[in-house]
């Protein structure tokens, strides 16, 4: 049957089981919008900015594990997606972005609303396509979803010229994808796994360093099983929050620049590190030459480029975390070596416990000003640790990581690699769309929230009941913190005057607004806000001088922590 490119597009989305598309229309995609009109299979949600649309698709993907989809027009619509693409790329999130393009014959002519988005997005996508013929569209869509969601996931962009969408062709969606240049390795090499287990058991001071790859691989169960079988202490990266239950006695919390004292001391004094789906980011290692000086390292990662990139590892294993951990579990579970090993490593665990006891995550409570950490603790208490938490970027993000205990994977959504301010609100909306029954909270900063505040309108339009809690410190707090510590307190351009009245702003958008100005109001205001229907914005006026600790100054070794 002959169909137009636009009809093929919509039918292929339905056949690929896409239930929602976050988008924004324009001239180059007008045929698609015509085909989408009154379509019942694919829901389109109208965002207020294309950046918001990509972050929504991204939040949808992180919360659900399904690929997020976004549709925008050519030129400015396409360029507005770049930050969203780069955000998803850095954090390995499966997203497919479809962009309209000027008609094929005009490409390269500086045509109206033309941008070379394939060229622009090349370094921030896993792969991208320009569709040249209508007959190729369905196949390319199939490939795009396949590439985005397999191996190390990532964003894929598909650029569709207007004439390709208008012309007709036969609908031909292939069943299978065959790309001879793309064959991710899922199965870890058995002998390599055996060597890894041998190395692990030979040590006395082990630590598991778990990252976002555990969540992407849906392998939290396996991680817990292995850790419990051998009593292995586990620290997670920011991207790995929720990969291992925060309340587990073996959990050390986050490591790195703002990691816990126990986690950073454990990594630095360990003799074997089992790195699982983590990429030795510089926020984690601190000064590379001082990173884990006594440790042998085992590294499990599906992407060979992550291995031996920043840190020399002793046993690399290319493969899916889930597969490799299963193989490891098989080799140790119930074996008598496991029991002996738990005995041999008991003293080390004792040492870690005492580090955690002497230097817990903490802050100095104050009567007057509201402490942001207290607010996060109260959110945790109120939601019983069961919310999906999105964050903005800065101090708010670090406190959200430190003072909320994440028990489940896919419950902490944060822009780790790119650190994109303005990520949290749209990501929370996307997560809520994917998980309608869950409570979704965006822990925000007063600066970041203003970068995509327009998406409140989207939340109101579709009655998406996200709860935004602004830790309003009147400043670009994280940058201010660096100025305080390393630039003699010269607060250059980090005080935010003219912050809007967020309560009124929420109301102007048709959302509900609440405010807390005193510590004793916090629990009640949060309770009321979370109980209210629909989207809610809660403005909490926090202590502007508060800082995030521990902190490893940039370029210092992990043990050189500044503490409260």
């Amino acid at each position: 049957m002959q169909m137009t490119g636009a009809e093929i597009f919509v039918k292929a989305l339905a056949d690929l089981e896409v239930d929602v598309v976050f988008g924004y229309p324009g001239g180059a995609t007008i045929h698609i919008y015509d085909a989408l009109f009154r379509n019942v299979k694919v829901r389109h949600m109208l965002c207020r900015h294309e950046q918001g649309a990509v972050h929504m698709a991204d939040g949808y993907a992180r919360a659900s594990g399904r690929t997020g989809v976004c549709l925008v027009t050519s030129g400015p619509g396409a360029t507005n997606t770049v930050t969203g693409l780069a955000t998803a790329y850095m954090d390995s999130i499966p997203v497919v972005v479809f962009t309209g393009q000027v008609p094929t014959l005009l490409i390269g002519n500086d045509a109206f609303q033309e941008a070379d988005i394939v060229g622009i997005s090349r370094p921030c996508t896993k792969h991208n396509y320009l569709v040249k013929e209508t007959k190729d569209l369905a196949r390319i869509m199939k490939e795009a979803f396949y590439i985005a969601s397999t191996g190390r996931p990532g964003p894929v962009l598909v650029d569709m010229p207007k004439d390709v969408l208008a012309a007709s062709a036969r609908y031909d969606l292939p069943k299978e994808v065959s790309l001879r240049g793309y064959r991710p390795t899922y199965e870890g090499h058995q002998r390599q796994v055996e060597s890894a287990v041998r190395l692990l058991l030979s040590g006395e001071r082990p630590v598991v360093y778990a990252g976002g790859g555990v969540i992407l691989s849906n392998a939290s169960g396996e991680l817990a099983e292995l850790s419990h079988a051998l009593s292995l202490p586990v620290t997670t990266t920011l991207m790995g929050m929720g990969a291992f239950p925060g309340s587990d006695p073996l959990s050390l919390g986050m490591l790195g620049m703002h990691g816990t004292y126990a986690a950073n001391m454990a990594i630095s004094n360990s003799d074997v590190i089992l790195a699982v789906g983590a990429r030795f980011d510089d926020r984690v290692t601190g000064k590379i030459s001082e990173f884990a000086p006594h440790a042998k390292i085992i590294h499990i990662d599906i992407d060979p480029t992550s291995i031996q990139k920043n840190v020399r590892v002793d046993i690399p294993i290319v493969g899916d975390v889930k597969d490799v951990l299963r193989k490891m579990i098989k080799l140790v579970k119930g074996k008598k070596e496991a029991t002996a090993y738990q005995g041999k490593t008991a003293a080390w665990r004792g040492q870690i416990v005492s580090w955690a006891k002497t230097h817990p995550l903490t802050y100095k409570p104050s009567k007057g000003k509201i402490k942001p950490q207290y607010v996060v603790e109260q959110i945790h208490k109120l939601t019983k640790g069961k919310a999906i938490v999105a964050t903005e970027v800065g101090q708010n993000q670090m406190w959200a990581a430190q003072f909320y205990s994440y028990e489940q994977p896919r419950t902490f959504l944060s822009s780790g690699g790119l650190g994109t301010m303005g990520y949290g609100l749209p990501a929370a909306i996307g997560a809520q769309v994917a998980m309608p029954g869950r409570l979704v909270v965006d822990i925000a900063g007063d600066g970041s929230i203003q970068m995509n505040i327009q998406e409140l309108a989207t939340a109101v339009q579709y009655r998406i009941p996200v709860k935004v809690v602004i830790l309003n410190n009147g400043s670009l707090g994280m940058v201010r913190q660096w100025q305080e510590l390393f630039f003699e307190g010269k607060y250059s351009q980090t005080c935010l005057p003219h912050i809007p009245d967020f309560v009124k702003l929420a109301e102007a958008y048709g959302a509900k607004g609440f405010r807390a100005e005193k510590t004793e109001q916090v629990p009640e205001v949060l309770r009321k806000g979370f109980a209210a229907d629909g989207p809610v914005l809660i403005d909490v006026i926090t202590d502007p001088g508060e800082m995030v600790y521990p902190m490893v100054p940039a370029g210092a070794g992990l043990t050189e922590m500044l503490l409260v």
């Binding site: 090349r122 896993k126 792969h127 320009l130 590439i147 001879r180 240049g181 793309y182 060979p304 480029t305």
Partner: protein, 158 residues
Amino acid sequence: MRHTISVLVENEFGVLSRVSGLFSGRGFNIESLCVAETMDPQVSRMTIVTSGNDQIVEQILKQLNKLIPVLKVIDFTGVDTVDRELVLVKVNAEGDGKQEVLRLVDIFRARIVDVAPRCYTIEMTGGEGKVTAFLQMLRPMGIREVVRTGKIAISRGM
């Protein structure tokens, strides 16, 4: 250390910019790059000469492999290869110099492919050392222009 890397890629639009973008975007260095179709018209071969320490070269090889249209990556370091480069040189040929140029062309088994009143254009192929030596010898005559293809390589034997 210098490495010669042979990359088989899908012969499709944009693949060259993916490869060159990978180098520029990550601060890797390209000394030369040659591309042409293989026997299979759907596949092209790129021969890239690059340099860097072991860790950098390992990243380059892995990153190349990671590109979707890349089918195969071969590092020729430590492999017995035949490598060649083609160079075209326009050199002054006047008075006594003429004889000297002809002599060098003969010694290096080069060919004169164009003759003008005061200069010759010479074609020469060879390994890196030979090309460099040839250009060195011609320099005193006055080289007007040099065009080099960059290196291509093929493994010896099977």
